[in-house]
Symmetry: C2
Subunit: 131 residues, 2 copies
C-alpha cells in the first residue's frame, strides 16, 4: 500500500511552486535551501513516482539529466520548451496522437507510445541574445 508522508507532499508542492523543468538535484537543493531536511534519494523516488502516476512530466535533456515539471493540464500532452530559460508551454494535438498511432499500426507495432517535444528559443530569450 502507498503511504502518505510529508516528504512526498513536500516534493509535490515544491515542484508545483515552479513553472519550468527542474532536475531532481535542483529541486532537492532548493528544498534544502528552504529549510527542509529531505534526502536526495527521497526526492528521486518521489519524482519518479509522480511521473509514473502522471502527476508530473518527465523529460530527458541532451545532457543526460532527467528534468521534471508539475503537470498543469490533465491528460496526455506534449511540450514546447525554451532551450535557454526553460519556459514551457503545454501542447495538445490530436493530429499527432492519431499520426503516431497510425504509424505504429501501419508497421504492425503494438502498444504504441511516443515522445514528442519541441524545443526553441522563446521570444524573451531571443531578444536578450539579440540585444
Amino acid at each position: 500500500m502507498k503511504r502518505n508522508t510529508w516528504q512526498r507532499t513536500a516534493v509535490r508542492e515544491a515542484l508545483g511552486a515552479r513553472d519550468d523543468f527542474v532536475s531532481a538535484q535542483q529541486l532537492h537543493a532548493s528544498m534544502k535551501a528552504g529549510g527542509s531536511p529531505i534526502g536526495l534519494a527521497t526526492v528521486y523516488r518521489a519524482l519518479s513516482d509522480l511521473a509514473e502516476e502522471g502527476d508530473a512530466d518527465a523529460l530527458r535533456a541532451g545532457d543526460g539529466e532527467s528534468r521534471y515539471r508539475a503537470c498543469v493540464s490533465a491528460g496526455h500532452h506534449h511540450h514546447l520548451i525554451c532551450r535557454s530559460c526553460g519556459r514551457t508551454v503545454e501542447i495538445q494535438a490530436d493530429d499527432i496522437e492519431h499520426w503516431a498511432a497510425g504509424v505504429a499500426a501501419a508497421h504492425g507495432f503494438r502498444d504504441p507510445q511516443h515522445v514528442v517535444d519541441v524545443f526553441g528559443t522563446c521570444a524573451a530569450c531571443a531578444e536578450v541574445d539579440g540585444a
Copy 2:
C-alpha cells in the same frame, strides 16, 4: 583539419553492419570481440562525430544510455522503434515537420527543433510474448 583514421572507418563500418540501435559500449564490445584493438573513448568520439555530421541517428533511451544507428535514409526523419528487440523503421512525415514549426512559431519560439520518436512492440516480438 579532420583526419581519416582506420578507427573512424572501423566504427562507421561496424555501425553500418547492424540495422538496429546500439550503445557505444555494445558497439565497442562487438568490435573488440571481432579482434579490433580500438579503444572505448575512440568509439564514443567517433559515434558522436557521426551523429553530428548526420551520418548516424542518436537516441536517448529511457535508461539514460545513448544509442546510435547508421542512417539509412538521407535527410531529416524520425523512428519507429521496437522497445523489445530494437528493430527500427525510419519515418518521414512532412505533416509533423510543419506542425512542429507551426507550434513553435505560434508561441513566438525561434530556431525550432523537435524530438519525435514512436515506440512499440513489433509484430515478431508481440508473437513471442504471446506464445
